[in-house]
């Protein structure tokens, strides 16, 4: 059921699975990119510790650029560095970058078509107690509307590291979204990662089993996921399999350009799609999938994410539960979409 080609960790459903925030992958990834390319810089707006820019700063103090609390200036200055042939990664919280400096990103980075990597930290409600002001739920939508902008939401720290290194080798604008709270480290260094490629994590029609689950099962619903929700999607898939409901879990770290081939081929096999993202359902990942499928292979879609509301204070777990972002909610959506179709047939 777990796709062996995804080369995921062995103990993937173990409650003690190691957890790290994706922002750690920004720290390790920028150091790796900085080692292989002396033009790589990290710009930060007075948040070096929490963004993990500090890790790069310790390794390459001369290439760490402190911008102060000035995100607009950071974006346009990053453009200036890129004009001079540098490869700037600019880090702040997503609520401020791209939240505050969207127009600077649009004009000086995107319209200039410059290789700047905009890194939005602390995205989503899992920021926790800081509350709605700091819980960015609109960044994927904002950034994917910009022509030429690549948009990536890594699902664990290792995938984030790979995304950062891959972004350093591009030549056009990139947005990468990171989270504050730890998420299960379920991928390995061997897990394939390529910008623009989706990856099947779970396929109930595959012969290889998971303990206690009968195989194979006809895949009836595709669960398409991005960013922090991917491991939850796997947990949901296993629970559904135990009930005899076969699914395919497609992880889509690159939201733009969307791997439309993978999205369509999975939808073709299942005819039902549930999308999940820690982002508003308007304009984000679910919208991207819906746009693609409505044109190329219309199927019934349910989009999970925040439903046109802001976040609030609470623990990350409380908030994820409240806004319907968990394996349980994915399971409910899958059952619902199947029941709905069943009713229609009757």
């Amino acid at each position: 059921m777990l796709n062996p080609h995804a080369k995921l960790v062995q103990n993937i459903f173990d409650a003690k699975l190691e957890q790290k925030p994706t922002r750690d992958g920004f720290g390790t990834g920028t150091i790796e990119a900085g080692k292989s390319n002396e033009n790589v810089l990290v710009l930060c707006a007075d948040l070096a510790e929490s963004t993990r820019a500090e890790w790069f700063q310790k390794e390459f103090p001369e290439r760490f650029i402190e911008m102060g609390i000035a995100e607009q200036n950071m974006a346009a200055t990053a453009a200036g560095f890129a004009l001079a042939g540098k490869v700037p990664f600019m880090a702040s919280y997503a609520a401020f970058s791209p939240g505050r400096n969207y127009e600077q990103i649009r004009t000086t980075i995107a319209l200039n078509n410059l290789h700047v990597v905009v890194c939005g930290m602390h995205a989503g409600v899992s920021v926790g107690p800081d509350g709605a002001t700091h819980q960015m739920l609109e960044d994927i939508g904002l950034m994917r509307m910009l022509p030429g902008m690549t948009v990536i939401a890594p699902s664990d720290a290792e995938e984030a590291r790979k995304a950062v290194v891959a972004a350093s080798k591009m030549s056009t604008p990139v947005y990468i979204r990171f989270g504050r709270s730890p998420v299960p480290s379920y991928t390995t260094p061997e897990t394939p990662f390529e910008i623009g490629k989706a990856l099947v994590l779970w396929d109930s029609e595959l012969a290889e089993g998971v303990e206690g689950i009968q195989i194979p099962q006809k895949a009836k619903v595709a669960i398409m996921t991005t960013g922090s929700m991917s491991h939850q999607a796997l947990v949901a898939a296993r629970a559904l399999a135990a009930e005899g409901i076969g699914t395919i879990v497609l992880s889509v770290p690159t939201i733009k350009p969307l791997d439309t081939e993978a999205v369509v081929s999975v939808a073709r096999r299942t005819s039902h799609v549930v999308t999940i993202e820690e982002h508003t359902v308007m304009g984000g990942f679910g919208s991207a999938v819906a746009e693609c499928l409505s044109e190329q292979y219309p199927v019934k879609i349910v989009r999970l994410g925040t439903q046109d509301v802001f976040g609030q204070s609470g623990t990350p777990d409380e908030l994820m539960q409240h806004y319907g972002l968990s394996a349980v909610h994915i399971g409910e959506a899958v059952r619902e979409i199947l029941n709905h179709t069943q009713h229609k047939k009757n």
Binding site: E62, N73, F81
Partner: protein, 299 residues
């Protein structure tokens, strides 16, 4: 070395040609900004025909100085100066703002080599100039260890950022002013076109800016003020900025909006509109006869 009178005259002559081209391109475009481009023609003539180290045949030349135009709406003056300097045929100026033209209403770097950046939305040019200037300082002092750049440092390439006075209203400008002062970017020279107008009226009525000098000095800049139509004074200021190794320099260039056409000089209503064909003829005559001081056969 001081320029000879003949050399200054040559630059002034280019400024007049640039003004003529500005009028012709705005009439052809049927939209665009008139006051700012006419007001800065002397400065752009001085930049393109003396100050800048550049090669019109090789706009991407690595050793060139960089000129960032922050207030992108005055780009007709840059297009005209570039055309007269040989970047592209002067006739191409008449494609300004037309479909398919490389000469977009506001400058777009990917479309025309030599523009350095995209601008129009105000307040962002100085930040980009800062990034460039910092990079050039980094490159000039490799290998290096420890935080930041060392200043002063010998650096062969300079960065010029042309800004409007109205755009000093933008918060982003002051974030950039603060950052340049902090980092002592002595290879950066900002030029403010102090023409005292913006779209809705006089700058001091819309949002008072004075004392600009005191503001920049407070942010650790070296400040020079010149008559922006006195080519020699402007070039002297640029030379002085080169000799200041402790901080960035801003040249506050006092200019007359619409300079060269008496009917529109000082009139903020001409900030954002072009002359009609009829007005264009009269304006060209004004420019070519130095406001009627020369006989009409020169027109």
């Amino acid at each position: 070395m001081a320029l000879t009178d003949a050399e200054i005259l040559h630059i002034e002559d280019k400024a007049e040609k640039i003004r003529e081209t500005i009028i012709e391109m705005l009439v052809a475009a049927g939209s665009g900004h008139t006051a700012g481009p006419l007001g800065t023609a002397d400065i752009f003539a001085a930049l393109y025909f003396h100050v800048l180290k550049h090669d019109p045949q090789n706009p991407e030349w690595e050793e060139r100085d960089r000129l960032i135009l922050s207030n992108g709406h005055i780009v007709p003056v840059r297009y005209a100066a570039m055309a007269h300097a040989g970047y592209f045929p002067i006739e191409e100026c008449l494609t300004l703002r037309k479909f398919g033209s490389r000469l977009q209403g506001h400058p777009e770097r990917p479309r025309l080599p030599g523009l350095e950046t995209t601008s129009g939305p105000l307040g962002q040019g100085l930040s980009q100039g800062n990034g460039l200037a910092y990079s050039l300082l980094m490159d000039a002092q490799r290998p290096q260890s420890g935080a930041g750049i060392r200043t002063p440092a010998p650096v062969s390439r300079r960065v010029y950022v042309a800004m409007g006075d109205g755009e000093q209203n933008e918060g982003n400008v002051w974030e950039a002013v603060m950052w340049a002062g902090k980092n002592k970017l002595h290879n950066l020279t900002a030029i403010i076109d102090r023409n005292n107008i913006q779209i809705d009226g006089m700058t001091e009525d819309i949002m008072p800016l004075d004392s600009l000098r005191a503001k920049y000095e407070a942010f650790n800049w070296h400040v020079l003020e010149v008559d922006g139509h006195n080519v020699r004074a402007f070039i002297d200021a640029v030379d002085e900025a080169r000799a200041i190794y402790e901080k960035p320099t801003v040249i506050i260039a006092h200019t007359i909006p619409g300079k060269g056409v008496p009917e529109i000089e000082f009139d903020y209503h001409w900030h954002g509109k072009p002359p009609t064909a009829e007005e264009g003829k009269q304006f060209l005559k004004d420019i070519r006869t130095l406001k009627g001081k020369l006989p009409h056969e020169y027109a």
